[in-house]
């Protein structure tokens, strides 16, 4: 809660203010004449009892009053008028300006000097009082502004508070510009800077991290950088309209303080947002891994049961028709398993929480493992592997690359004509190993060559060949995680080529022969 803002005690100057303040020069002169006249009228009946030197005291009081109410020039004139009135009405000979006594000359001279000094002092004092009141008012307004900013929960609220405060207290129109990359974007799209000059000044304030002034037509602008702890978060532009530039410049420190308050609020909101986002991400990640783990366990268990049971049945003595059904069940369970694996892998790859376990190894080995893993799926398609004899070791994650090769081989087996062979080849060029898998099938539809690696994209939309179009998308993700590229071509059938960076394989010391 805000502490109750203290009401300032009623001030002497304010009491006087309540009497009304003469506005223009004529009114001030009238005031001056009236006060002097009033003193003369009041003192006149007493002229026989009071010494003129004492009447002079009354006039000094009058001058002080005039100084307080009507300003410097009126005070000086009041001093002279009072001296003249004292001489004219209260000194012998009366009703003339002639001074009869030398002593009276001293009285008049001293009175004039004293009246001038008192008048001046009064004015200085009054100015200081007014300035102090003004400073206090500003401090109070700034305090209220600061507490408003402290309670703001969005940048919009900060913007509104700033706009209202500057409008009410400083008669300025503010535009809050936040930094986006290397540009400045207005927080409210409708409140943007209207001219090139203004934009240039705002950018200059951002880059130089200094307050910039700009005058355009009748408008005087101030551009204040919002200093954050690490970088300038934006610029507060204030349009003072036709205010006198000197007044604005005199208050520059105050405006910079206002900009500092806005900057602190903006930075606080920024960090709150960062903290919230991080926490959300962490929760998100934890939830996602939990779901993935649960899914992979809960889906695999019934799949294992299904597959195992079909497999057990296949071993039994069954009539031919039933045997076929059982074989199909087994095959479908396996296919479902491969789809689930693909989906889970894709989810993991998409979430970015797969860190490839990169090791130097021969390509030949992972190719062999993939062919072995596919087993029956490749029964109709002999795989011909032709690798150069001097194929260097490559750095990759064997499990992930096995997945790539299995998906490519499975795809090739799906589309290749029965009993045709599938080829795997590799060559080294331009710092990369280029590995390709090709079949002699119909190839990819030419208009889709560039898109086959997109998620859920398939060669033929309504193809008879089963699959969810996930396999190639996973291949691309895995190859990209290794720093390579993958592309599809048609060269007498479908041909998918992916690259892996070569790098420098570790040196293997050759063994000394023992013969």
């Amino acid at each position: 809660m805000n502490p109750a803002s203290p009401t300032p005690p009623p001030h002497f100057a304010e009491i006087l203010n309540s009497l009304g303040h003469p506005r223009n020069a004529i009114a001030r002169m009238a005031w001056m004449v009236a006060i002097c006249g009033l003193v003369t009228l009041l003192a006149w009946p007493l002229h026989k009892v009071i010494d003129p030197a004492n009447v002079a005291m009354l006039y000094v009081l009058a001058v002080a009053l005039v100084a307080l109410r009507a300003g410097k020039i009126a005070a000086i004139m009041a001093a002279f008028l009072s001296t003249a009135l004292l001489d004219f009405f209260f000194m012998f000979p009366r009703f003339t300006f002639t001074v009869g006594d030398v002593q009276h000359v001293v009285t008049l001279a001293v009175m004039l000097v004293v009246a001038l000094i008192v008048g001046n002092l009064t004015i200085v004092l009054q100015r200081q009082t007014v300035a102090a009141v003004e400073r206090e008012r500003q401090a109070h307004a700034l305090y209220q502004f600061a507490s408003q900013l402290a309670g703001a929960t969005t940048l919009e609220q900060v913007n509104n508070a700033t706009r209202d405060f500057l409008h009410q207290s400083h008669n300025g129109r503010s535009v809050l510009l936040m930094r986006g990359d290397d540009k400045l974007l207005p927080l409210e799209p409708s409140h943007h800077l209207q001219s090139e000059l203004q934009s240039a000044a705002a950018i200059a304030a951002l880059r130089l991290q200094q307050t910039r002034h700009a005058q355009e037509g009748n408008d005087y602008w101030l551009f204040l950088p919002l200093h954050g702890s690490t970088y300038v978060r934006g610029v507060l532009a204030i349009d003072f309209g036709d205010a006198v530039p000197a007044t604005v410049c005199a208050q520059q420190a105050l405006y910079e303080a206002i900009a500092a308050l806005v900057a602190i609020a903006a930075e606080r909101l920024h960090f709150v947002e960062v903290a919230q986002r991080t926490q959300l991400q962490m929760t998100d990640e934890r939830l996602r891994s939990a779901i993935l783990a649960a899914l992979s366990h809960d889906i695999r268990t019934p799949l294992t049961v299904l597959y195992g049971m079909a497999d057990a049945l296949a071993l039994a003595q069954l009539p031919a028709a039933a045997r076929e059904t059982v074989a199909a069940m087994r095959e479908q369970a396996l296919r479902l398993n491969s789809m689930v694996s693909n989906l889970l892998d894709m989810a993991k790859l998409r979430a970015g929480n797969i860190r490839p376990n990169m090791e130097w190894q021969p390509l030949e080995e992972v190719i062999g493992a993939s062919i072995k893993l596919l087993g029956d799926a490749l029964a109709q398609h002999p795989v011909k592997v032709s690798l150069p004899a001097d194929m260097p070791l490559l750095k990759f994650d064997a499990v992930l690359l096995e997945r790539v090769l299995c998906n490519l081989l499975e795809n090739a087996a799906k589309y290749a004509p029965p009993a045709s062979s599938i080829g795997i080849g590799a060559r080294v060029a331009d710092g990369f190993a280029h590995i390709s898998v090709r079949d002699t099938g119909p190839g990819f539809p030419p208009h889709k060559l560039g898109k086959v690696f997109d998620l859920f994209e398939r060669g033929e939309t309504e193809s008879l060949v089963p699959g969810v179009g996930l396999g190639l998308a996973i291949c691309r993700s895995i190859v990209a995680a290794h720093g390579g590229e993958i592309r599809a071509e048609n060269c007498g059938g479908a041909c998918v080529t992916f690259t892996l960076p070569l790098g420098e394989p570790p040196v293997i010391e050759t063994e000394e022969s023992d013969d």
Binding site: L303, V305, Y307, G308, P362, E365, E511
Partner: protein, 229 residues
């Protein structure tokens, strides 16, 4: 049946237990079912099984620490059932002392083959060591330290020969990179998997028909190798 054995099946899913039990019983084995790790250790002591089939994802505890504890008391062969894409888990289980693993979903044929291999190995360990091996077209004479393929002598370097022996002695079993590196090079190279891969590829080139599609020196991707006769 001379091959019949008592097999402890530790698995929480009743349906998986059912078909695995059926398959093993059809082979003439006696099966003890157990749904929790807590009861398993008691079974090991009471019933003296010859083999344990263990699901790593049991709800009541960590299968790997169970294996470790088991190894302090018994040499009982352990066949682990685990999910795909859990290579780290497989390696930990094997290094803790498991003998082999099967990835879910697995075929009955594969399961029975693994069980047979483990039971046979167990028996072989209790009899005199063999002096000669043969697989495919390759004959290995362990006494003369000679390897021949199609009747012709094949020259192997000392490391290649040591690696071949290490794999032969655990034929049928998955051997982790770490296990093989220790067996052939000692502890110094236990992190240099690429050494092992290079030498396995040498053996394949010298002893396999098609090194890219090996029939004996099989790759267990992300885990290690398996030698299959």
């Amino acid at each position: 049946m001379s091959d019949s054995a008592v097999i402890l099946l530790i698995e929480d899913e009743a349906q998986i237990r059912r078909f695995v039990r059926k398959a093993l019983e059809d082979e003439g084995h006696q099966v003890l079912e157990c749904a929790t790790l807590a009861h398993s250790m008691a079974h090991v002591h009471e019933s003296k099984p010859q083999l344990a089939v263990l699901d790593l994802g049991l709800p009541d505890g960590d299968g790997i620490s169970f294996i470790r504890e088991l190894r302090t008391q018994s040499a009982l062969p352990v066949l682990v059932l685990s999910a795909r894409s859990a290579e780290g888990e497989k390696i930990r289980a094997l290094d803790a002392g498991a003998d082999d693993y099967l990835t879910k979903p697995f075929s009955i044929g594969e399961l029975l083959a693994r069980v047979r291999a483990l039971l046979r190995r167990n028996k072989a360990e209790n009899s005199a060591p063999e002096s000669a091996f043969s697989f495919g077209e390759v004959q290995v004479d362990l006494v003369r330290r000679q390897v021949a393929r199609r009747g012709n002598l094949v020259h192997l370097t000392p490391i290649e020969y040591r690696l071949l022996c290490a794999m032969l002695s655990d034929a049928g079993k998955v051997l982790t990179y770490r296990h093989l590196l220790r067996a052939v090079w000692g502890n110094a190279h236990s992190e240099s998997n690429h050494y092992l891969r290079i030498y396995v590829s040498h053996l394949r080139q010298k002893l396999e028909d098609d090194a890219a599609q090996p029939k004996h020196f099989l790759t267990e991707t992300g885990v290690g190798y398996r030698f299959q006769i």
